[in-house]
Symmetry: C2
């Protein structure tokens, strides 16, 4: 049994306890309340103490395989960035590189307070990502990219091979511990209708989520028109894929009718403000009736801090719409916690409450949190990953006092340096 | 003599050395080059080792006295933010509070890699800021706010008292060690012509810089019109203040003619993208022929990371103007280093080169810097203050391996907690 003591416990965006205690047994939160009372009722095997305890952050969209390109690609917008940097790098990926990409990404995420994520990997070597996620102990949703048309020759799969590899990975990994598979067609342009349709059948057969990029960039929207006189939302609608099982990433250039369809059908949207700024893609104006989660979208962005994505989500809307109230800190905090959980179909995480799975981040007594006037506002606007001290995932301490406990970091660092 | 060894030494935005060494003696950089060569020529009393050595960051605009309001004020734009939060807090400041504000701000800055700053303090107790800056060992430019009209009653000075206190502070502190005074009329609205004019005479008499807020917010611009049918730039021009000694902060709503005057007269501009986003003030479109420095503008922003301001400066321009090239990472890095130095009249800092004062930041082997594809791009877009390991100011080690050496942090933390 673990006792987590904190000056403030952020249970969710609206409920913050003072001098709180979270009691964790096996994988679950079994009690939450005043420290002074709970210490009488429980005997703890391990204790973590800090300034703020909060739900683990959820990165609903990132690409581990792109991480080693950071710093190289800052002069391009979407299509050129794909053509000049990402596709050539992706074509060069071997097993060792794929493993090093997962190591580099997942450790940085844990150190940044991210306990759950959705990794859009490359078309190949996705087992490596699962293997390392299992070893590290993170709540990973991982899917191999599917692409069978309008793609670089050395990255184009046959429809059949793409589906076969996807089904093999689902059977091998989905539901193994806290790992989950997520079906991952790249984007409308690079997927045939047949691939999309069969992917949807697989999603239904195995009850797994399906994720794809949509309406990120005006050039992309124009290319869709050129290839098929359609847009992503229409395609997905025709294929009867528009439901709560679907995750659409970006959605900057949605028409009003597409927005309505997303809301009516409870489709999930992932907003990636950092990436949208980095690639000059545009400012998303998604209505907040949608379930909007947040994503770092590394490698289009260059770091995994979800503190930064919460901050950017709010700041960008304030200045673009000249209104301070549009997305406030509470809303941003929800995007990176409960909304992310809902998006990924994981309703048992995202808040700190009795009965939920214990995915918890403990922040230290950083200067940015002194004085602590408003815990949620200061998590969103003041502190960053420098304040992340300890991380619990599914009831297990993965990082304590900034030290990762589940893997040997020196060995992994050496592997990364040799490989990428 | 100190030897600073780093995998990469960023001398300036264009020159990066591999396996470099910086040699520091007394307050100066006496040599820079290959580690393998320089270790033969010098005998070091102390050695610092890290991933990247770079010039200390310069925060050209912040308000220490506003720091304790962070987290409280996120629902307001400029004028309401001043009226509802900042002015009442400012009126309540006593000596102990002013001291605690400086402690809280300056330590967070050093931990964030900021070695030099310009602090726009309140109208009173500015000695406290100087005293703590001296003790900590930071390169501080500090000025008391001047305001003698259109201001809250309990914050309005007489023209005479404002000038007298300013002159007393200049005589006491300007040029003492690495401390400098900076004359600080708040903004056009709250300063009489007489105050501005006499402030300018003081600036000339003592050869000190003069800084003021200008053209930040459309409401402010409208209020200026209402009070005096003028704008800040016209006022400053009439008073013959438009020269390289002047620092204008914000400058979002400049007319084309004001922009021209700023360029022609070599006036310095401080861009505060975080604050401009936070207060929904607008997107600055300053031409890059101006000398543009960067500021955190805490408390309008809630943390002191200049890594964050460099990132925001670039990202905001990319997405607002839909162009990735407008302010690239090299330009942002210059804004936070050499341009800040020029702005503050400190041409002997801002780069790592022989003969310059040694203001140097050493970054650790953070995951965000692995692999290190482009040092400047990754300092701007990937890493943050979590990577700041050691800080040297004017040749003295102020922080080593994340530990502040010049003051007792536990004592100071206790004082801050008791006071604000």
């Amino acid at each position: 049994m673990i006792g987590i003591f904190a000056e403030k416990v952020i249970c969710n965006s609206l409920v913050v306890l003072t001098d709180g205690c979270v009691v964790v047994e096996d994988e679950k939160i079994v009690d939450v309340g005043k420290k002074s009372e709970l210490v009488k009722n429980y005997k703890f095997d391990d204790v973590l103490e800090g300034k703020i305890a909060m739900p683990g952050l959820i990165d609903a969209h990132m690409h581990s395989f792109q991480t080693p390109t950071k710093g190289k690609t800052c002069d391009k917008s979407l299509i050129k960035w794909l053509e000049e940097y990402i596709w050539p790098w992706e074509a060069s990926l071997d097993k060792e590189k794929a493993r090093a990409c997962a190591e580099l990404s997942y450790i940085e995420m844990v150190k940044s307070g991210t306990t759950c994520f959705s990794d859009f990997t490359s078309i190949k070597h996705t087992d490596e990502a699962f293997k390392f996620a299992e070893k590290l102990g993170v709540r990973a949703n991982i899917g191999k990219t599917m692409m069978d048309e309008n793609s670089p020759e050395n990255l184009t799969e046959t429809t059949k091979s793409s589906l076969k590899e996807t089904e093999r990975l689902i059977k091998k990994w989905h539901g193994k511990g806290i790992l989950r598979y997520i079906i991952t067609p790249r984007f409308d342009i690079s997927c045939s209708d047949d691939l999309f349709y069969s992917a949807a059948s697989l999603a239904k057969k195995y009850k797994v989520r399906i994720q794809t990029h949509a309406e990120e960039n005006q050039e992309e929207v124009a290319a869709e028109q050129m290839y098929s006189s359609r847009n992503a939302i229409k395609t997905l609608e025709t294929l009867q894929l528009m439901d709560e099982n679907l995750i659409l990433v970006h959605c900057i250039w949605l028409s009003e009718s597409s927005k309505r369809k997303i809301i009516e059908n409870n489709v999930n949207v992932v907003h990636c403000p950092g990436s949208n700024m980095m690639l000059a893609s545009g400012v998303s104006k998604m209505p907040l009736e949608m379930n909007v989660a947040l994503g770092s979208d590394v490698g289009a962005y260059y770091n995994f801090s979800m503190f930064e994505q919460m901050r950017l989500a709010s700041l960008l809307q304030r200045v673009s719409n000249r209104n301070v109230g549009i997305i406030d800190h509470k809303k941003c905090f929800e995007m990176a916690t409960v909304n992310g959980a809902k998006c990924l179909g994981l309703q048992d995480i995202g808040t700190i409450e009795k009965g939920k799975k214990a995915d918890i981040v403990l922040l230290s007594n950083d200067y940015s949190l002194i004085p602590l006037n408003d815990s949620v506002a200061q998590v969103v606007y003041s502190c960053g990953r420098e304040a992340v001290d300890s991380v619990v995932i599914n009831g297990k301490i993965i990082m304590k006092n900034k030290k990762i406990l589940t893997v040997n970091e020196n060995k992994i660092m050496a592997h990364i340096r040799e490989t990428v």
